[in-house]
Symmetry: C2
Subunit: 156 residues, 2 copies
DNA sequence: GCATTATCGTTGCAGATGCAATGAAGTCAA
DNA sequence: TTGACTTCATTGCATCTGCAACGATAATGC
């Protein structure tokens, strides 16, 4: 199967190693995986559950729709993560008097404690990453990632 | 864990919006999702299948183990993607005369055609992303992502 | 040689995910 | 009011995934 047959095949100029979605996925996986074991072993949480908890812990009570908009997590993932977190006693639902379609999601004491614990560990983990990159590169990386996130949402 | 110290909630200093794994996941998702629909609708491929195909198309025939090392995809994902790609006629397996545990994976004509087609579209898609960031920022981003990928593999 | 250990790839199984379809509630206009 | 349409959230189902366990082969040490 030697494709060394010179004859410039179409697509041969596609440089996978510089394909941004591919690099971003690898970097996301590389930086997420070791922290993943932390919340999995300590609280049996999935990545989605941790992210939902983190949004509620960081930004306070809100609806599932708000979490979707804020985090860009798909609504069915959010729905199931919320159900799991509720069942484990990490959050409660409160009806919204103005819109009976939605419920306000708030962390319980246990949820806040879990967020406090994981937040501390996440801060330490994130600082270790930042130290490896250095402050300037960290700031650049954050800016570029936010740009991609914002434009990605806009450009679909 | 009783940190009922009035105002200051525990973990409040954890800044989710600056947590690099979170930003990387969002950026990866934002930049991958629209291209995902392309290979899904055109070839019914999953993301893993596309990535395995892309590695074989870009770097030539190799074993499943090589794909794992190159792409940091887990071996069971690779194994199943290879099985699916083989069943759909995109690749073939050839025994390795020196190591009977492994098989050399090579793209078929159909596999190369699919890679050529998707490679063209990926190139166009990647260039659109680069144009939005500009050449300098694109180069910076690539460098930083490669750094995270390499160190993530080293540091766990 | 022989036993032990490591590597490659696959599979079983439980759980997570994506997508389409659904139900429930809100909005708007005639 | 009615009806058409939109939005929020959940669920059914098929598929994908992660992890541990396994069989087969290779490498290592005695």
């Amino acid at each position: 199967m030697n494709r060394a047959t010179e004859g410039a095949e179409p697509g041969e100029d596609f440089d996978l190693g510089s394909f941004l979605p591919y690099l971003l996925n690898q970097a996301a996986e590389a930086t997420s995986s070791s922290f993943h074991t932390i919340y999995r072993e300590a609280y049996g949480m999935t990545r989605t559950q941790w992210r939902v908890l983190a949004n509620l812990g960081r930004f306070g009570a809100m609806t599932a729709r708000d979490i979707c908009a804020l985090s860009h997590i798909e609504k069915t993932k959010v729905s199931r993560a919320v159900a799991a977190l509720e069942e484990r006693g990490f959050l409660t639902r409160t009806p919204d008097s103005h819109d009976r379609r939605v419920e306000i999601l708030s962390l319980t004491d246990a949820g806040r404690a879990a967020f406090a614990d994981l937040g501390r560990r996440a801060t330490a983990y994130g600082q270790a990453l930042r130290r490896r990159l250095g402050p300037e590169d960290t700031a650049r990386l954050e800016r570029l990632l936010r740009q991609l996130i914002a434009e990605g949402a806009a450009a679909g």
